[in-house]
Symmetry: C2
Subunit: 289 residues, 2 copies
């Protein structure tokens, strides 16, 4: 099988596949990143096209929509070399509409396609505990399931082509808005003289409880914003959510505002910080800390 | 002991105190609401002032800041009749600054005061499982603790006078913004053709997980918006949060926007609906359902 895109996430996912017994043909734009996996027995190909020619199933894990389009539909892309009856599984976070378009193109060439973005971050990728949300044909999903099980824990077939990307877009909306919610609450508490750990303690016991506060609580308190989920990636994802909202005609009023706040963080040079650093913006505006 | 304010919440809370063995002197503006508790042995007083004159500890559970100010500091208010060494416990959701002001006034008359708002709604009040967030002096908190334990489960002393109200204001911010987050995500999913139950299933397994989605998931799916936590009360609470933000100088950018959305619901005549009905606004704007 093939694997294209060996960033932080992709490398860990590919390693889990190798450890599960799969023989991998891999490719990465920067070849050096492929060497570690080559030492584990993976064969390095010179282009996505070559990967496709040597694989029955090909997984891609790329930064975003432009790279997905290039790697699949570009000059030396997968679709140029892909064999009849193959399956392409794009696990990047990308656009639902692009996923649908690429699925149609693949299908007309007798190739199956799934969009299967993940959540769970670098830790989930290393430990093989990712959540994987999958759009596409049911039989293609069943075909890829053993591979998903080597990389993830929660694996859900959410609908037709594009549905996986749609659910990921929904996920990133909720995470972003919850970070903003907790941030506004903690700054209000602090400026009114209440210890943030007390706010978190009480809120965790009721309807305000949320996973962001549970997982990122320590970051909000310590202001150690080593990522974690980076601001710049989350901002990119919100761009995908908003573009989907525009296409499907959805009034994403608050998402649009929070996207601007993430953009402000990026402009401040905090793109590499953990996304919980959104609180620093409210603190600056409020003269806190 | 005394109890003033026998709405839906107050009646259940007072009943739990009676069942815990306390002898209550009660008052309510509409006397009829006091009759049920009178049948359980509570004595009905004609004014807050009279309640104060016959009690060592007095609990108030009122609609909001204007009523709190009237019942405590008004013509026939508690502070007119209160005895030296008494303790007033305001469990209404009210303003942190008003709580501080009333605490100072009470203290100068040798009377203790706690602000102790609750979360958990009518069910929590009936079952005696409320979360109670308490601001004020530690010894006053310890004095009232046995009473809190008859009404609630999670009981936290969060700081000095006003701190209880501050934490409640924080709580209502987070709940409101999470409702908006889940609503925008579900409408985006629906319009893109993904079943909302799939969105909830996947999001519940990761960083987007939250209590609102867990508790209100069925309401979002069925659109049965019987309250629950009413839109009009939550909107009132957000008014308190925003006023606190104004006083303490906190940039509550997104809270301000979501407050306007709740206001739109009230203007549409949905004030009595459950606050998860926020999703209907996004659906209308998006031509969904």
């Amino acid at each position: 099988m093939g694997f294209v895109g060996l960033g932080i996430m992709g490398t860990s996912m590919a390693r889990n596949l190798i450890e599960d017994g799969h023989e991998l043909v891999i490719h990465n734009r920067t070849r050096a990143k492929a060497e570690k996996l080559a030492m584990l027995g993976a064969e390095v190909a010179t282009s996505p096209r070559e990967v496709a020619g040597r694989s029955d199933v090909i997984i891609t894990m790329l930064p975003g929509p432009p790279e997905v389009e290039e790697v699949l539909a570009g000059e030396n892309g997968l679709l140029k070399g892909v064999r009849d009856g193959s399956l392409i599984v794009d696990m990047s976070t990308s656009s639902p509409l692009l996923a649908q378009e690429l699925s149609r193109t693949a299908n007309t060439r007798g190739v199956g396609m799934l969009d299967a973005p993940v959540s769970g971050g670098d830790i989930g990728a290393i430990e093989g505990t990712l959540s994987i949300m999958v759009g596409g044909e049911k039989e293609d999903f069943e075909r890829a399931r053993p591979l998903f099980e080597a990389m993830g824990k929660t694996i859900v077939h959410v609908g037709a082509a594009g549905a996986g990307q749609t659910v990921k877009a929904c996920n990133q909306i909720v995470v972003a808005l919850v970070i903003e919610a907790v941030s506004e609450a903690l700054v209000l508490g602090s400026k009114a003289g209440v210890k943030p750990e007390k706010v978190i303690e009480v809120l965790s016991g009721g309807l305000a409880a949320n996973k962001v506060m549970e997982v990122k609580g320590e970051k909000f308190l310590s202001h150690d914003f080593a990522a974690g989920g980076k601001v710049e990636y989350h901002r990119k994802d919100l761009g995908i959510s908003l573009a989907a909202g525009r296409e499907y005609g959805v009034a994403l009023t608050v998402t649009a505002l929070v996207d601007q706040l993430f953009g402000t963080l990026v402009a401040q040079g905090k793109g590499g910080w953990d996304h919980s650093a959104l609180i620093t913006l409210i603190e600056e505006w409020s003269g806190a800390r």
